[in-house]
């Protein structure tokens, strides 16, 4: 292994730690500055490298993670949109609704009413959303 290889692997590992931190602490008031400080990088360097390696910048990954979790909460039916919004780390209902609609293609309240699979479901969710649900028969496609 060349010194260049060792440097690259060290950088990749640092980026992995940042992504794992987002996955764990998504509900906390994280920002790119704090993530970069934790990884001993500048915010600009972190954003560029993270996007290069994971396909989206860290802020966008954090938003996706929060919305993904909000979808999981809203699917339960016993969590309100406001509760889901604050539970996943958003400070404002307006920002939450905007981000949610951008990613999911419908508002949080529409999703809560009918989280059934439909056209426009993001591919990263497909695997999770199409998993069998214990003790609940999935409705046939035509009934949705």
């Amino acid at each position: 292994m060349t010194p260049d290889d060792a440097d690259r692997l060290r950088d990749l590992t640092a980026l992995r730690r940042v992504r794992d931190r987002i996955d764990r602490e998504y509900a906390k008031p994280l920002d790119v500055e704090a993530l970069a400080r934790g990884a001993h990088m500048s915010a600009g360097h972190l954003s560029r490298q993270f996007k290069l390696v994971y396909g989206e910048p860290p802020y966008s990954y954090l938003m996706t993670r929060r919305i993904e979790r909000a979808m999981a909460l809203l699917r339960r039916g016993d969590v309100t949109v406001t509760e889901a919004c604050f539970a996943v780390g958003f400070q404002s209902l307006g920002t939450f609704s905007t981000r949610f609609s951008e990613l999911v293609g419908m508002s949080p309240s529409a999703y809560r009413r009918d989280p059934g699979l439909g056209p426009g479901i993001p591919s990263w969710l497909e695997k999770q959303a199409t998993r069998p649900i214990r003790n609940r028969e999935a409705a046939p496609e035509r009934d949705r």
């Binding site: 290889d5 992995r16 214990r134």
Partner: protein, 136 residues
């Protein structure tokens, strides 16, 4: 036919670090530790389940793997997009507390998933994703 899962492979980058994780953090027993040149294959598994094992293995040592491919595998491991395993336990919250207190890298604290399980996740020292779910 009656087939069980006997062993599967997870790559390690540092045999001692991975051994410490699976033995000291998860509490697995070490069943075999085989060395060849500077490589090590370590068989670990849960106590009381002698028929199920994980073999911690050096990555990409198959001579059929090119230098370029090996580099890709090491990159994928470093960025956390290569190996993983799903484990189960009767009480995921108490297991999480114990594993976290032993210094494991946490990726997800215990949460209820919409598909009917409660789980948490850790990163092993080689970058493998270790998910732990409550058995029902």
């Amino acid at each position: 036919m009656d087939i069980t899962i006997n062993a599967s492979f997870l790559a390690h980058l540092d045999a001692e670090a991975s051994l410490a994780f699976y033995r000291d953090v998860l509490g697995f027993e070490v069943r075999k530790d085989v060395g060849y040149q500077d490589m090590r294959w370590i068989t670990v598994g849960p106590k009381g389940q002698p028929d199920t094992a994980i073999v911690l293995t050096p990555p990409a040592v198959d001579p059929g793997i090119s230098e370029e491919e090996r580099k890709t595998i090491l990159d994928l491991m470093a960025k956390g997009s290569y190996g993983g395993i799903v484990l189960a336990t009767p009480d995921v919250d108490s297991a999480f507390a114990e594993i976290e207190s032993r210094g494991a890298d946490v990726v997800q604290e215990p949460i209820d998933q919409p598909y009917g399980i409660r789980d948490c996740a850790f990163r092993d020292p080689a970058g493998n994703m270790v998910r732990l779910q409550q058995s029902v």
